[in-house]
Amino acid sequence: MKRKSKPVNDVILQTAAIIIFFIIVIFSIDLFFAGHYSPGGGFIGGLMTSSALVLLLLAFDSQTLKTVLPIDYRLMTATGLLIALGTSLHSIFWGRPFLTHAYDKFHLPLLGEQTLHTAIAFDLGVYLVVIGVTMTIIQTIGESE
């Protein structure tokens, strides 16, 4: 997939971008899960993931990214908001105030004793909202001729 508008061969940029993309994505997932005990969390993880997508946008064109990742980012934002709202609302049904989080120890298969917390679901909502908003802004600016 080459650009039509610029007759420049950017093979070095594209090769490097494909390799670096995966490293950035795995690092962003690590940041997302590190948020409870160490610096990190949903916001910075989402920004890091969208920066990986922006790197692909720089190396290729927006049409290529649309064929590779056919995601509607506005839907993604809505989904993230719904997840965040749902995790905030669930405590009302247990007679607790809004936004009260619950946690418990579970015995998971293959993973052993793990503590699960509902804050991770809230963080997932934040993560999806950040990716959706960032990519919507960048794509709208990029496509307005």
Partner: protein, 161 residues
């Protein structure tokens, strides 16, 4: 060669399950034993045009060592040019035809050329067949071309054949 690596990982996991040692050292021992088995069976992979995959890993390691050596030598060369009282350099851009076929090999060669000081890849031609290289000091471009070919391109060719 990727499936030889997969077989090796598979053998390492089988070794872990057989000895019931689910540790990194158990995996490492299984990996070494699998490597030995694959080495005994290296002619088996030659039937479909392949070769023993660790030979390629070894050649990549050799390329890395050559790169580190060139980095040191060329850095001292640039240091000598910078510290000399009179700047006697002849900069210029020349065209270097490469025989590498795939895009990622050309990218690897370009990065190696760029990271060794004194030379810098400015552009790649449209069909990946030539690089345009800016050199800091080129009294004779044929010498630089020969050095690049001897050091990097041959090694990349050997390592990826």
């Amino acid at each position: 060669m990727a499936y030889q690596l997969l077989i090796n990982f598979f053998l390492a996991f089988i070794w872990m399950f057989l000895t019931e040692s689910f540790t990194s050292s158990g995996f490492f021992i299984g990996y070494l034993l699998g490597l030995f088995i694959l080495f005994m069976m290296r002619r088996f992979f030659r039937t479909d045009g392949g070769s023993f995959y660790f030979a390629r890993v070894w050649r990549l390691f050799k390329l890395f060592v050559i790169f580190i050596r060139e980095l040191f030598l060329a850095n001292f060369e640039v240091l000598r040019l910078v510290m000399s009282p009179k700047l006697k350099i002849q900069p210029g851009i020349f065209r270097y035809e490469t025989e590498l076929d795939k895009g990622w090999k050309v990218s690897l060669l370009s990065m190696l050329i760029t990271l060794t000081p004194g030379t810098l890849v400015v552009q790649v031609s449209r069909d990946n067949s030539a690089l345009y290289i800016h050199a800091l000091n080129m009294p004779d471009k044929e010498v630089i071309k020969k050095e690049i070919y001897k050091n990097f391109e041959l090694s990349i060719k050997e390592a990826t054949e």
